[in-house]
Structures are given as C-alpha cells and as structure tokens.
Amino acid sequence: MTPFLALLSRDLRLSVREGGGAALALVFFALVATLVPLGVGSDLALLAKVGSGVLWVGAALAALLSLDRLFQADYEDGSLDLIALSPLSLEGTAAAKILAHWLSIGLPLTLFSPILSVFFGLSAPTVMALTLSLAIGTPAVSAVGAILASLTLSVRRGGLILPLLVLPLLVPVVIFGAGMAVEVQTGLANGAPRFLLAFSLGATLLSPFITAMAVRLNLAG
C-alpha cells in the first residue's frame, strides 16, 4: 500500500503546487455558472429548469481542464519510466492517479456545486440530488478521462484533442447525472441513480486496466 499512497500523495501535492488543481477548476466552474444566466436571461423559472443540467455540463468541462497533464507531465520529464519500474503495478499507478484526480478536482467541484446552484434558484431537494449525482458521477469522469489521457499522453498538443475524445464518452454520465435532479423536480422515479451508479462503478473498475494498457503501449514507443 505504501507505494500507492506515496504516488497518491505526491500527485495531490503536485496538483496544489503546480497549478491546474482545484482552484482553476472551481473558477472555471463558477464562470460557466455565471455566463449561462447572462446568456439565457434572468427568468428564474427557466434557470431553475436548466440549472442542474448546466451545472453538470460545467462540472464535466471543468474536470477536463487539467486532465491532459495527468500522465503527460510524468511522461515528458521521465517520471513515468521510474514509476513503471517501481513495485507499484501500472494498474495500481492508474488507480492512484484516478483517485488523485477525483480528490483534487471531482470532489471540490461536487462540494462547490450547492453554492453555484444559488444562481439558478434550485430547490433544496434538487440541490441535494444534484450534489449527490455529482458525488456519484465525477469518479466516472475521472476514470473515463484517465483512459483517454493515457492514450494521448505522447500527443504534443494533447490538451486540444482530449476534450474531443472524452466528451462523447461522457454523454451517459451527464444524462444520468442531470436525470437525478430531474427525478426530484418531477417527482417521478426514473431510475437515474441506479444507471449512474452502474456506469460509475463499471468505469472506475475497468479504467485502471485499460489505462495501464495504454500506458504500456506508450512506454514502448
């Protein structure tokens, strides 16, 4: 467990010190939540209707901001070679990095969302559902994102291509995540929590293996 924790704590410290961490993502998230009302108008009824969806899209986009550096930074400065030779397996490495990404980005975004939901006049139960859906769904964003970050780790301008690859795959997360808030708003059970949980579990369980495979392919290049 020590190598795993060593890598996890290093990545968390790096995200705090070298920018691209929670602060950047939160500011971006807040900006999206500010711009949308400015774009669609101040009608609170309309904002309450679109709010949970907008916040979900904003959170997903904010989580992608620093994703391209997840493996690329370590690949470029040679750290990834040393990590690959350590007793920690590449699967373990991938899991540590996914967890670090979620702790440094996904979790702060989740905790910040109730504050931003004020802009959209969401009801308290809707805010609860939205926050819960982000808590369940953001690990999937990190997990799916890690697969594509590892695939593009050798691409020089990976930051440009990465959102193009990740966002289509995040369609189910956004749909089911925002669907949880819809369930509360309409009062009709629609099964969104179950689907979101299933997707999130599946993604987080599979991702370390696919990510490790992609890292292996890239180290061989």
Partner: protein
Amino acid sequence: MITSLTAEKLAVQRGSRRLAENLGFTVKAGQALALEGANGSGKTSLLRLIAGFLPAAAGRVTLTDDGREISDPEERGRFVGWLGHHDALKASFTVSEQLAFFGKLYNAPSAGSIAGDASGASPVTTGEEKRMALLDQAHLLEQIGLARQAELPCRYLSAGQRRRLALARLLLTQRPLWLLDEPFAALDVAGKGLVARLIALHCGQGGMVIAATHEELGLGNEVLRL
C-alpha cells in the same frame, strides 16, 4: 541475488524502423557493459528494451536470479535501477521531498534497516563502501554532494545538480541492474569522477551496470558497439 543478464539474437525495433539486429551479450554480477554508437543507433531503445518497456522484435533477454530465469519484461523491470535522459524531477518539490517520494514508491528500506541489509548481502570491507551502505537520506545527499541543497526546490538546481539528484535516487532504489543513459551528461569533472566511483562501487557489491555512453566507464569494462 541477480547473477547474470543474457541477450540472445536480439533485434531492436522502434516503430517501423529496425535499429539493431542479432545482438548477443552477457553481463555477469559485478560487470559493467558500455553501449557505444552514433546518435540514433538504438542505444536508448536497447536500454528501454532491457528495462522491459520496449518488446523485443526478435530474440530474448534473460535475467538469472538465484538460478531462476526471468524472461517476463515487467518482472525484469523490478530489478532495474534507471537513469534516463530526463532527470524526472518536479520543479516544486525539494530535493529531500523528491527522494522521500521515490524511497516510498520503491519500498526502499529505511535508514537503519538498510545498513543491516546491505552488510548482510555483501561483506563491507572498506570505509567508503561502509558509508555507501548507510543509505540514510542525509548520508546519501552528502555522498552525492547535495547536502546543502536538501531543502531547495528542484527548480533552483543547476543541470549538474539535477543529474546528481538523479544519481542519488538511483542509489536509493537499491536495484541490482543499473541501466544508465549517458550518465556523464551535464556533469563536471568531479561529477564524472563520482559516477565512475559509484559504478565501480556498485559492481564491487555484485551489481550489474549497462551504460550508453561515449566515455570510459572507469572500469576495465566490456564494450558493445551498435
């Protein structure tokens, strides 16, 4: 204890380009092998192949550990001490944080137990060797000439100091098979002397060294030309 590394009919291929073919060599415990060749001749690729990153296009590499043959590349990697082109340092980490991270990542034994382990594994004879065996971080930094910089973030280190820190990490990981890519690069005369001494010491303790370099390793070492 690692006793030998053997390559048979090895072919090195990067992408669609065949860099070297039909390579064969054996390195035994206590020996150093120098890889020489022009730029692009495949020295780095061969090192990456031995480390287990790059699959062999043909032939095989076998590591013998206590009579047991290891041919799985990833298992072989667990014996490798790696010094690559890049120093693999994070600008915002201090020298000692850097070493502490890799120490934990590699499960390197803590200061007290290392002294016991190292002296048990190989008889300590000279004073120099005994000091090397005490791989306490402070000792290590003193040994490598970075004691004063211990709390300095890596972004303020010179190229030579970065290289020395990478060497300190190599010692810290306690791996028997050293793979060094241009170990003398960016180092001054004193630094080069240090590298030569460390290699001699590592071989003296029964380790193995394979280095891609233009310069003498400071041993009566064997040379493989690519």
